[in-house]
């Protein structure tokens, strides 16, 4: 008979080891799924995890893509992780991402064709403010009316998607686009474009911001009083109240930071890799970032690595789609599986496995 015994504090070794175990388990289960789809499992896994980095034919294109995809994931996940640590569940990052993109693009398009170095910084500001404002809706409803922030932030994603459609078809539509939906392409507007900073690396301003966010979050959590309050509020809410933590302020701060970062991610995406506001501009980064946050153990350095790994599954997934005809949905299921395994093996860091019968109390 196996039974579980709670550890006094989570095991450090297992905390570091469990994400690796989860990735391996996902590779095995994913391999079985690919085999069931009639694909060679070894080849599929190799195409996803190995070829984008080391295959001579594709690596030149894929490697820069790694940071392009990892940037927004890391940026969003860092913000989410602060909230998750404090027990504030913002799961509507996708909506904040969309609104950030709309606001950032709107500022850029309003100033078109002004050629001034001030355009891009203004867009960055607008993107962050837009995401922040969208996240303030669940924050204020939570603190004023005690409304569940999980449901509100998630429902607002659907509202944001409708707004996006309305913007792409109406207000922000390219007046010279011949009636097609979608805005002007910001990449062709030099003052607003978020271009690659170093040729061949994929590093744009969003990626730089993501790295800054990682450092900022690391310092915040380990050195700053707010970081301490976030950690204590999540692990021991009662103790937090005695330590003088104001729960309402924490909700506003956590949702505000995660909203602003998600908004920034959206803005950098629309001004850079995506280029324009379209009906289906959003690509589920807001939801995948939840997996990234957990895979990184809600730890800034962990999230950095997890974001890069998750970006790899995106690129490798596209490659597998193209090379082996693996359906796109399989990759999505694959990413969901990863979160399952992660949560499952988590038990090892919080509990000890004991063999034998429990002693009588």
């Amino acid at each position: 008979m196996i039974r579980l015994e709670r550890r006094p504090s989570p095991s450090r070794m297992w905390t570091a080891l469990t994400p690796v175990m989860a990735v391996l388990a996902t590779m095995i289960a994913g391999g079985i799924m690919f085999a069931a789809l009639g694909k060679d499992p070894v080849e599929a896994i190799r195409t996803i995890f190995w070829d984008p980095l080391f295959n001579e034919q594709f690596a030149a294109y894929s490697r820069p893509q790694l940071l392009v995809k990892a940037g927004p994931l890391i940026l969003i996940a860092i913000g989410l992780s602060l909230g998750f640590r404090a027990g504030v569940w913002n799961i509507g990052a996708e909506g904040q991402y969309i609104i950030g993109a709309i606001c950032g693009a709107a500022v850029g398009l309003a100033l078109y064709p002004l050629d001034s170095p001030i355009v891009f910084p203004l867009m960055v500001l607008a993107g962050a403010l837009g995401g922040w404002a969208w996240a303030m809706i669940p924050a204020i409803l939570k603190t004023r009316f005690n409304t569940n922030e999980i449901l509100v932030s998630l429902l607002l994603v659907y509202v944001a998607e409708q707004l996006l459609a309305s913007m792409a078809l109406g207000l922000l539509r390219n007046p010279e686009g011949g009636g097609f939906p979608g805005s002007r392409n910001l990449q062709q507007y030099d003052a607003a474009a978020n271009l690659e900073l170093f040729a061949g690396t994929g590093v744009h301003w969003g990626v730089v911001t993501a790295f800054i966010a990682v450092i900022f979050a690391y310092v915040l959590l380990s050195r700053h009083l707010l970081g301490f309050q976030i950690r204590v509020a999540g692990s021991a809410p009662r103790a937090a109240r005695f330590a003088g933590v104001n729960p309402a302020a924490l909700v506003v701060i956590c949702l505000g930071i995660s909203g602003a970062l998600a908004g920034l991610a959206g803005m950098f995406e629309v001004a850079g890799p995506a280029g324009q506001i379209t009906i289906d501009f959003n690509s589920n980064y807001g939801f995948t970032a939840i997996i990234v946050a957990f895979l990184g153990r809600l730890n800034p350095i962990g999230i950095l690595l997890a974001g890069i790994l998750m970006a790899l599954t995106y690129i490798g997934g596209e490659l597998a789609q193209f090379m082996l005809g693996v359906p796109a949905a399989a990759i999505q299921a694959f990413q969901g599986m990863l979160l399952f395994f992660l949560l499952a093996v988590d038990v090892l860091s919080n509990f000890r496995l004991r063999l034998g019968k429990p002693e009588a109390a």
């Binding site: 409803l141 409304t147 449901l151 509100v152 429902l155 939801f287 939840i290 299921a333 969901g336 949560l343």
Partner: protein, 308 residues
């Protein structure tokens, strides 16, 4: 501008529009009554939608389709049950994982089913009742699942209120330590409640793909699962109030669709977002009411571990 929307048609389609979220919300109500918060309703619904659709198309029988949908939803919820009850994972995170996985996996299974037509679901014949003017089309010209969902409301209400099973379920949800001390198998009871919730969500999803739409498209639940979760809060964990909420919500959905079709001078996007906005407003009103939020099961979302 004159809007010619027939009240009769509006009320008749209201019940059909409300049934998917009603079924899912009822399942979630039972799960939450046992003290478990399963945020994976959206994922279980969409798995139910594709399982029901696929089996109904392959066998030509909608009854088999609904059974398969309930099974599919229950199997997915079993993953949630094992993770949260046996491996004691965080319920919020696991529920989200269920939704993310469900959306991806359903799209994977559903690839070859896009664009197909499911077999028709027959309407129940109530004889002369169905031919009554106004009342007939509104109340008595629907398929069996509409009435099954209403019967389920009554059954859940009666079981929770009058039976021993209901009492034990509520005890587990209100205070798992006390229930454990009395000798009830907390984990086993919760797993069963989760499975029931999964089966109901699966049925709700299949109702979408077999009756309400009726066809299969990726991500077709479009937030219905989240609205079902909100309905449980709206209904203050009471079955009849959940029914009322579902029908109100169904009414809003049908009304905005009718307004879109009637060409009201309001942008389509504003109308399409109205159900979500109204759900948020309703949530705000309900949670500002202290008495309603006191109805929440006391151990909702808390991890149970029998440490001695």
């Amino acid at each position: 501008m004159m809007l010619n929307i027939s009240l009769e048609l509006l009320l008749a389609s209201l019940m059909v529009a409300a049934t998917p979220i009603l079924l899912a919300a009822l399942g979630e109500l039972v799960t939450e009554k046992s003290g478990v918060l399963n945020l994976g309703v959206e994922g279980m619904m969409i798995i139910g939608a594709i399982c029901g659709f696929a089996v109904a198309v392959e066998t030509g029988s909608t009854i088999l389709g609904f059974i398969a949908a309930a099974l599919g939803g229950a199997v997915l919820s079993l993953i949630f049950a094992v993770l949260t009850q046996v491996l004691m994972s965080n319920q919020v995170a696991t529920g989200l994982a269920l939704t993310l996985f469900g959306l991806g996996f359903s799209a994977l299974i559903g690839q070859s089913y896009a664009g197909l037509k499911p077999p028709p679901v027959p309407e129940l014949d109530f004889g002369p009742l169905s031919n009554l003017p106004f009342v007939g089309p509104v109340l008595f010209q629907h398929d069996a699942m509409v009435y099954v969902s209403i019967a389920l409301v009554a059954a859940i209400w009666a079981v929770l209120r009058f039976s021993r099973v209901g009492l034990i379920l509520r005890a587990v949800g209100e205070n798992h330590d006390a229930a454990h001390a009395l000798g009830y198998k907390v984990v086993r009871i919760r797993i069963l409640a989760i499975l029931f919730g999964g089966a109901c969500a699966g049925l709700g999803g299949a109702y979408l793909s077999l009756v309400r739409v009726p066809q299969w498209t990726e991500g077709m639940t479009a937030g219905a699962g989240w609205i079902a979760l909100a309905l449980v809060v709206f209904g203050a964990w009471k079955p009849w109030r959940v029914l009322l909420g579902a029908y109100l919500f169904g009414g809003i959905t049908v009304l905005q669709l009718n307004l879109q079709a009637a060409g009201l001078a309001v942008p389509v996007e504003i109308l399409s977002m109205s159900p979500y906005v109204i759900t948020i407003l309703v949530l705000v009103v309900m949670s500002a009411d202290r008495r309603a939020s006191l109805n929440a099961p006391a151990t909702l979302g808390r991890v149970f571990h029998a440490s001695n």
